[in-house]
């Protein structure tokens, strides 16, 4: 197993909880942040990390999550703008080396990739996948 990392996951929705559960299971130290305490119900019983309740666009919340010590920050909240802000604050203010932001809107994603923010867009990923799959079907069919 690779050395265990300290990872902050912002947002405990579908993606955030999936990542937090998975990373915790892999043996990493995880802190998960969400505005609503109820969101932590999504975490599995084996989740052994920490939970911080608070709004991640306030630096105070990121401090509580010990972001400055993190090896990696994943911004996986529901809203694109929260993720884009948190990712940049993590990188520029807290000095986190590896920062990944989930961005749903492809046009916004493109702009931030140019700003050297590592982004993942569920929309583009799913869209590309569907297009690829359709292209294959079209290719298989004799014209």
């Amino acid at each position: 197993m690779p050395k265990s990392l300290f990872i902050v996951v912002v947002g405990c929705g579908r993606l955030g909880s999936f990542l937090a559960n998975g990373l915790s299971k892999q043996g990493h130290n995880v802190v998960v942040v969400d505005r609503r305490e109820e969101a932590f119900a999504e975490l599995s019983v084996e989740f052994s990390g920490f939970k911080v309740v608070g709004d991640a666009v306030e630096s105070e919340t990121l401090r509580k999550a010990r972001t400055a010590d993190a090896d990696c920050l994943i911004a996986a909240a529901e809203e694109d703008n929260v993720n884009l802000m948190v990712a940049q604050v993590g990188k520029e203010v807290f000095g986190v080396k590896r920062v990944i932001a989930r961005v749903a809107e492809p046009a916004r994603e493109l702009a931030y990739r140019q700003l050297n923010i590592e982004t993942v867009s569920p929309t583009s990923l799913a869209g590309d996948r569907v297009l690829m799959s359709l292209a294959q079907t079209a290719g298989e069919r004799p014209s």
Binding site: V57, D80, M85, V89, A107, R108, L115
Partner: protein, 221 residues
């Protein structure tokens, strides 16, 4: 000159009015549909409905030609992203953002927003302000900007220091409403003399603001 204002409520309405009166062409982007309708009826301005942090909407608002973008929604993250996109994607040189969490003021500067202002911070400073650092301590527009109230701090060497009210040739449309000297506040009369360290409340119309400042401070501050 085009300016884009992103946000809602009375703030946006009055900001747009101020911009129009100064000869700018404001374009408003507001998330609230009913408010958009109201704003478009009240103002000679283009009003767009939607999320101002979407590149497509910024482009539609004319971000390429805009001289400034002002983001004043109650959500810091939306203000930041709108300003950054305007600057990076459309080359807007001046971006201004309202920050609600005062800590974000510093953060926004670091992330490239030209001016980040925090109402919390402004209010707190107003209260804390003992003697201001600059001569114009604060400026408060009243009655939709038709009157401004300015607080001025006098120091040795200004043309008004040592002169009486009568001797000062204050321009029409301006008035010294009060003199604050230490703990004491007086409404000055003709023979009252201004001193080093006095704080004045200057009430003026926007047109006579400049001349009044020249008269008191010897220059436009």
């Amino acid at each position: 000159m085009k300016t884009i204002i992103i946000g809602g409520g009375k703030v946006v309405y009055f900001l747009a009015k101020v911009f129009i009166s100064k000869g700018y062409e404001p374009v408003i982007i507001d998330q609230d549909k009913d408010e958009c309708l109201w704003l478009s009826q009240q103002l000679k301005a283009v009003v767009l409905h939607g999320d101002g942090s979407r590149p497509s909407l910024l482009e539609e608002a004319g971000a390429r030609e805009a001289v400034a973008v002002l983001a004043v929604t109650p959500r810091d993250q939306d203000n930041l992203v709108a300003c950054q996109l305007a600057a990076k994607m459309f080359g807007v040189s001046r971006t201004l953002a309202l920050v609600n969490d005062p800590e974000n003021q510093e953060v926004f500067h670091r992330l490239g927003v030209s001016v980040a202002f925090s109402t919390t911070h402004i209010m707190a400073t107003l209260i804390e302000q003992q003697a201001g650092l600059e001569e114009v301590v604060n400026l408060l527009p009243v009655a939709q900007g038709k009157v401004t109230v300015t607080e001025l701090l006098l120091h040795q060497g200004l043309p008004s220091v040592g002169r009486t009210m009568q001797e000062l040739d204050m321009p029409a449309g301006s008035l010294i409403g009060a003199v604050i000297r230490g703990e004491q506040v007086t409404v000055p009369r003709g023979p009252d003399r201004l001193q080093d360290g006095d704080r004045l409340l200057l009430i003026s119309t926007p047109e006579s603001y400049g001349p009044a400042l020249r008269c008191l401070m010897g220059k436009e501050v």
